[in-house]
């Protein structure tokens, strides 16, 4: 049904409208069908005011005079991409540790506590040395996840007991909820933190006149975090990982992620059980010191504040920080794909499905915005192809990898088709591949592409209506590419035409760039 069908819909149903109103609506509708095309030229310009301090700290403000609250976010350009093998999830763990307070927030007797932390560090160093000695004495060291050599020596046991006893001593000196309780007390809401592959961020929404509290706490968190309760907090990672693994599809999706990427850690989840026990204070401190520096940080505010006011306040709390050496940036370059890959997953707890993943470029590449349009246009198109062929299926297209749908490094375009039975997986696979082949020559109808653009535009407005979601998008672009490319990205989506989508399909949806996953019941013949 097209726009003229809407008019028919209104005329046919009358909707009990007074004639005067019906006429207004119909005029409006006719105008609307014409303006739908004009709307493509809409500007996505954001009134962001920016300042970069001498130490490299970036400040981005959207001023909304009269608003009584302000959304505040602090982004650090680091995440799981900066971890090393064997320490996966350590960036996420660092985020947990950064809630544990500082010498001035969370301690009832810092001089005493400090001394205990120094003893813990010495004990941990000794424990690491002892563990390494025990491991290195073995010719074959833990070659598989379910096999562990006896790495325990009497000294290991003693050191672990010592650390546990010192942890208890620290607890007695701690003041719980060291940071969040003050945010709560002064009207802060939406207090969260997130660590993904490319960033760590802390969020708050608070009364605008109290924005200084955010700066006071975050500058302290960024420079003076104390790793309290390190070992108990590990168990929270275990709980979170168990929660992920309870999902029926998690293991399958992780296997698909691993199938697609060759070298990029964008495909690695936030830690495995066998990594959690390996984290050390020393390693976490290394990440903390390397990346939590002024010239790797962006502050974002949206609400009842001004740039001028924020510049002075930020200077007060962050101005003492010195510019430090630029930390290493992850490039995430993938080797050229050379062959189609295939995974067969047998499970009775997942619906049968066939999935196609194609590696696509990250944000910053000119083709990336058009993939968003392709997703919106292709999903109903493929749904209709399957439906016309009599296959009862549900098509979901996404760019999800682990938890995130956009990256500044290569990721994947995923076409997931859930069907009713194992036999239909083959039918659906064949139908989808035939259609993709066809669409690499014949464009998707322009009306469908126009609707896809409209859906994306509207979804963006929904995001922009929420200051927290908008601040996240600005910060996310800053860590993926640059906040300055957010508006051009949105504009590029809005100018995408059917011929652009044909070009994408032709270029990227080729066999050697494809990873196929097929889920069938246990025991099904495939």
């Amino acid at each position: 049904m097209k726009w003229n069908a809407i008019i028919n819909f209104l005329i046919k149903s009358h909707l009990g409208l007074p004639l005067r109103l019906l006429k207004t609506i119909l005029c409006g509708t006719l105008v609307l069908s014409a303006t739908a095309a004009l709307a493509q030229g809409r500007s996505f310009e954001l009134p962001i005011r920016a300042h970069v301090f001498e130490n490299g700290l970036r400040l981005l403000v959207i001023e909304r005079p009269g608003e009584t609250r302000v959304v505040a976010k602090i982004f650090t350009d680091m995440g799981a991409l900066n971890e090393t093998p064997g320490q996966y999830g350590s960036a996420h763990f660092l985020e947990h540790l950064m809630f544990k307070g500082t010498p001035t927030l969370g301690s009832r007797d810092w001089p005493r506590e400090k001394e205990i932390h120094e003893r813990i560090q010495r004990a941990e160093d000794a424990l690491e040395e002892e563990l390494n000695r025990a491991r290195n004495a073995l010719r074959e060291r833990g070659v598989f996840h379910d096999y562990q050599h006896q790495e325990t020596t009497p000294k290991v046991g003693e050191l672990r007991a010592l650390i546990e006893s010192l942890n208890q001593q620290v607890l007695e000196l701690n003041d719980e909820g060291p940071m969040e309780k003050w945010y709560q007390a002064y009207g802060g809401t939406g207090l969260t933190a997130t660590t993904e592959q490319e960033y760590m961020k802390f969020d708050l929404d608070l009364p605008a006149e109290r924005v200084e509290l955010f700066l006071r706490v975050e500058a302290d968190r960024m420079q003076n975090t104390v790793f309290r309760n390190f070992d108990a907090e590990r168990m929270i990672l275990v709980e979170q990982r168990l929660g992920d693994l309870n999902g029926n599809a998690t293991a399958y999706h992780e296997a698909m992620n691993a199938l697609v990427g060759r070298s990029s850690m964008v495909y690695v989840p936030e830690g495995y059980m066998n990594d959690f026990g390996e984290y050390t204070r020393r390693y976490e401190q290394g990440l903390y010191e390397r990346y939590f520096i002024a010239n790797n940080t962006t502050l974002i505010f949206i609400g009842g504040v001004t740039l001028e006011d924020m510049k002075a306040k930020v200077e007060k709390y962050f101005g003492h920080m010195q510019r430090r050496p630029e930390p290493p940036r992850y490039q995430g370059k993938e080797p050229l794909p050379t062959a189609e890959k295939r995974l067969t997953w047998r499970s009775d707890s997942l619906s049968p499905r066939v999935e196609f993943r194609y590696q696509i470029p990250g944000v910053g590449h000119p083709d990336r915005p058009q993939f968003d349009v392709l997703k919106k246009a292709l999903e109903p198109h493929l749904q209709s192809v399957l439906s016309s062929a009599g296959v009862a299926a549900s098509v979901d297209i996404n760019t999800l990898v682990v938890h995130t749908t956009r990256f500044g490094v290569p990721a994947s375009f995923n076409i997931e088709v859930t069907v009713e039975n194992a036999v239909q997986t083959a039918t659906a696979e064949s139908l989808i591949l035939d259609e993709i082949r066809e669409l690499s020559e014949e464009p998707i109808p322009e009306d469908d592409v126009a609707l896809a653009r409209k859906i994306l535009r509207t979804e963006w407005y929904r995001t922009a209506a929420d200051p927290s979601a908008l601040a996240f998008e600005i910060g996310h672009f800053e860590v993926m590419d640059s906040w300055k490319t957010l508006a051009p990205y949105l504009e590029a989506r809005d100018q995408t035409e059917a011929s652009d989508l044909t070009r994408l399909i032709h270029r990227y949806f080729v066999a050697k760039n494809r990873s196929v996953g097929v889920v069938v019941p246990e025991g099904a013949v495939q």
Partner: protein, 462 residues
Amino acid sequence: MIVKYLLVLPALMFSSLAIAQDLTHPTKMDLPESGFSRPDPSDYQISLDNGLTAYIARADQVPLVTLSAFIRAGKVSDEKEGSAEVLLDALLYGGPEGQSPEGFKDVIRLMAADFSVEMHDEWTEISLNIPKEDLDIALPIFSALIRSPAVTDAALANASGKTEAEIGAVEALSLSSATFALADAVERFYEVLYADHPYGRRPTVEDFSNLTVDDVKDFHEKFFVPGNMTLAIAGDINEAEVRANVRDLFGDMRATRALPPRQMPTIEFEKAAQHTFPVKKLQSWLVIGHELPVVPLEDQAALDVMNYILAAEHLHARMLTNTRVLYGYTNDASGFLEDRWFGPGSYTFRSYSRPEVIRPLYEEMMSAIGSMQTEEVTAEELFIAKGALRDGTFPIRYLDGYSTARDFAIEWLRYGNHSRSASYTHRVGAVTAKDVSDMANKYMRTRSMQIVLVGEPANLLE
């Protein structure tokens, strides 16, 4: 040389003073009072002669508009069981009378609309978010849908089919992830709580076979009337035009008053009991709680403060400290006050953990609950909770035009006035430590807690 150093030294000292990190404690920062004051509902409200009340707000940050209707009728309002569920299906999928469901679906799709109908036990929310450019189309469709939804045999068959599927789903726990599993455990708790109560009654397939389209239309005609409904419209609008359109589209509805609520029996458990639902998963889920009687106005603020100190959702609170921060038993343990409009609600504490620590987790949760009844809260706890409620969770109910209009529309529908929201910050400010203790003893009954455990069986009451 010495002179040179003498000149440099003060400069260095001054410089180090100028660049020192400001680590003033938050309580010593002299943070100003919050500038928030609740918006005045009369700035948004229009009242039609037929009894309909609407709240209209301009919010032009983005070119979108949200239309919402709130009706004081839900799943337990129908006299003929199943009518509400069929009406819900008709509203969601059928569109206005005289049109095909496919046509309605296409209109929604072409507007890129976000359309939802949420039917609770006692009230219903219909919401349509659309681009500003489509408002002229959307408003009459929205009005027609509310006034004359297409109630058909197809809607009846759909609702019946869904009920059959839901009965199947209830028998087999879904548990597809930690989040869903906790929601499943909460559902099990409601089943226990409302086992013999009208709130727990759900239609059967047989109910639908005894139901006619006319029964559903009767239900709609009785409840979807001006005095029993409010509207909230907000976004990038011309307020005067929208007010006029609301009068045009809803003004000729027959005048009615709000309908009296259905009388609901109370619930009271006599003793604690455990209800175990074994499933083989990596974690176990725990819901502890009991009924919550209808809370009178004079208790509401103190009860909120008490719950915040005990178990504010995933924030610094006694329960999270006891379970997560100190021992790493769980990722979350929080409390939920869920009141109902006309009858008993629930007060629950929810958590989850690896099965081997479910017992200490339960014990720590109960210990936190007990501490509220036996130990007076500290001045700091009171300061944090009152500040959080007064300057945080309450103001964000009025964060933008739509949330303001929506909040007022629901408040008017439920109470017929705005006095509760007008006095809330004052009432929170007046709460004392003794009030908190009184609320803990009045609204938490540790001896009759119902414990729902979904996961590996463990006897928690022994």
